[in-house]
Amino acid sequence: MSAALAIRGLTKRFGAVQALTGVDLDLAADELLVLLGPTGAGKTTLLRCIAGLEAPDAGSITLGGVDAVGLSPAQRDVALVFQNFSLYPDWTVGENIAFPLRAPGRAMGADAIRERVAWAARMLRLTDYLDRPASRLSGGQMQRVAIGRAIVRRPRLFLMDEPLTNLDAKLRESLRVELAVLRRELKTPMLYVTHDQAEALSMGDRVAVLDGGRILQQGEPRAVYERPVSPAVARLVGLPRINLLPAEDAGGGWTAGGVAIVPRAAGDPAGRCLLGIRPEDLRLAGGSAPAEVQLVEHLGAALLVTLRWAGMQVQALVGKDAAVRRGDTVHPAADPGRTHRWSAAD
């Protein structure tokens, strides 16, 4: 079976701005790939090139084994869902969902349309709202209708451009799970664009990290989180953010600000490095050098502790039962196997 989507060497420039540089990307037939990157990384441009709304300067886009670069957006048979869902406010939910099926050239019978709309509504738990005008829906319901409009066509590929960004945090959290489960049931490939690292880890079968128009890393969420190839990736994936400490080789061990942090390991860079420690991998006891507790924040299920250590500010994520208070002195320690080391030039 050919890949749902294959991109090779995709490059796009807008005037002086190099939006995309040599992007390679594959999407398998039953896969949800999340494209994660900050604002301006090139995510939306890439999506628009795939949808046929933008023509790339160089490179190839293959959809289901067919070269797509010359095809119109309609011929590509992909469904695009945007951050700003535009529904017809006076139409009912059912009419909004049915809209793409009524496009000229589709020639679907009324019964077939009704059946398809009922199916889409069932998938999105909108059955009870089919006769309600779109203007009387909540934000989360509106976004579900917009998604319904995309799935009702049964396209070969879904392209989602930050579909949950404008919703309340609480709603985003439940819809991201709903959407991932729905996609699994539909068995349709999806490319999902977001700047929210939790969404990327949570939803993606694989994650591609994009910044400055280049793919920095792609892989399964666990691989990207546990083995980031560069400090840039490590910073973009994971909240609370990874601690990055400039360290020096002090003969057998890495020190930062004069404090011994971890021993050297095979494959470590020579001389100097940037040492990465995830907040959950920093324990508050067992180390040799003292640190002052500057702040303890209750995050609900865990505590986030901000420390002054080795002349730097670092954060540790610890269990709620930890007896730690502002002003305490602790002796942080990191498990060497759970730290990251990059050559200082990265």
């Binding site: 900050p38 604002t39 909540s138 934000g139 960004t165 404008n166 309340d168 945090a169 609480k170 959290e173 439940s174 799970v177 991932a180 489960v181 699994r184 700047h195 929210d196 690292q197 939790a198 880890l201 949570s202 969420p221 666990r222 989180y225 910073r235 973009l236 994936v237 994971g238 909240l239 609370p240 953010r241 995830r278 907040p279 959950e280 924040e297 209750h298 995050l299 609900g300 299920a301 865990a302 986030l304 994520l317 709620k320």
Partner: protein, 345 residues
């Protein structure tokens, strides 16, 4: 006496919409209060009444001992911080930051010191003589926040000031806001729908829903000891699990726990971190999704009692369809009334 007091404060719009339904709140000097709730809960209307941008239809607002309910915004000496401040393109960054300090009665020297302080806190000291249009968006956002924080009025009123920023910048500016607030001790009301933001910023969180205050308490009180089911579900990521239970002779099904409640239906609440995998446990479920989040994972399960979420270390993943047994920490099971959702035990 409290520094800011809202007494039976109410807002009813001409079309009949009852946005705020008689709320009471006492705020101490220097407190950082976060008003938390979903869209339409009345949090922004409350803030705007304190600012004087909306007129209260009933009730009283007292600030520093004086009744300000009928005063114009400019007479209240409060600073409203919105999402984005437009910067004056023809003024330098320094002049932009100085602007809010005009007519404040501060000496020129003091104004300069304030500008230097806030610029240092935001890391834009080297940009003071530049013009906004020469700067990238991130610097412009920092400077616009600086314009809001350079003045220290009696109250800072913040309406989702970090709204749609990327998480990176949000976190950074959130720290700036908190540090400035601690340093200057300006009493602050901060509106957000993001419970995580509320947990990290607030001295006290005021949870609002449908125009009423559901609970006001420290982040850990609101999280560990919610006053009702709404607060239990809204605070926490994900919110508290709810399990429909039945008390018979002092024992509660389906968990088999002793409870000091009369016979009848009850809703049990358990946080995701207080559920544990245990094949001998009283609950069984089927995995819907193993949601990996880096430092931990949320295991979503379909159980006979409904959808439950368990928070687990990242470890080995479960697959959709896997059967899982669960037990709960008896010390962390809360009981709520099935009707109005208020806390029972």
């Amino acid at each position: 006496m409290s520094f800011l007091a809202l007494e039976r404060l109410e807002k009813r719009y001409p079309d009949g919409f009852h946005a705020v339904r008689g709320i009471d709140l006492a705020v101490e000097r220097g407190e950082f209060i976060v008003l938390l709730g979903p869209s339409g809960c009345g949090k922004t209307t409350t803030l705007r009444m304190v600012a004087g941008l909306e007129e209260a239809t009933a009730g009283t607002i007292r600030l520093d001992g004086g009744d300000v309910t009928r005063l114009r915004p400019s007479q209240r000496d409060v600073g409203m911080v919105f999402q984005f401040y437009a910067l004056y393109p023809h003024l330098s960054v320094r002049a932009n930051l100085l602007f809010p300090l005009e007519n404040t009665g501060l000496a020129k020297m003091q104004r300069e010191v304030r500008v230097d302080d806030i610029a240092a806190a935001l890391g834009v000291t080297h940009l003071l003589e530049r013009f906004p249009r020469q700067l990238p968006g991130g610097d412009q956002q920092r400077i616009s926040l600086g314009r809001a924080l350079v003045r220290q009025p009696r109250l800072w009123l913040m309406d989702e000031p970090l709204g749609t920023l990327d998480s990176d910048r949000r976190e950074e500016l959130r720290e700036v806001i908190r540090a400035q607030q601690l340093q200057h001790g300006v009493t602050t009301l901060y509106v957000t729908h993001d419970q995580e933001e509320a947990m990290t910023l607030a001295d006290r969180i005021v949870v609002m829903d449908q125009g009423v205050i559901r609970q006001a308490g420290t982040p850990s009180e609101v999280y560990e000891s919610p006053a009702d089911l709404f607060t239990a579900a809204f605070v926490g990521s994900p919110g508290m699990n709810r399990i429909d239970g039945l008390v018979t002779g002092g024992v509660c099904a389906p968990l088999g726990l002793p409870v000091a409640l009369p016979d009848g239906p009850v809703v049990l609440g358990v946080r995701p971190e207080y559920l544990h995998p245990d094949d001998a446990g009283p609950l069984r479920g089927v995995v819907v999704m193993d949601e990996y989040l880096g430092a931990w994972r949320n295991l979503h399960l379909d159980c006979p009692c409904g959808r439950l979420v368990m928070r687990l270390p990242p470890g080995a993943a479960h697959r959709p369809g896997d059967a899982v047994g669960l037990r709960v920490d008896p010390a962390h099971v809360l009981c709520f009334a099935p009707g109005d959702g208020r806390r029972l035990a």
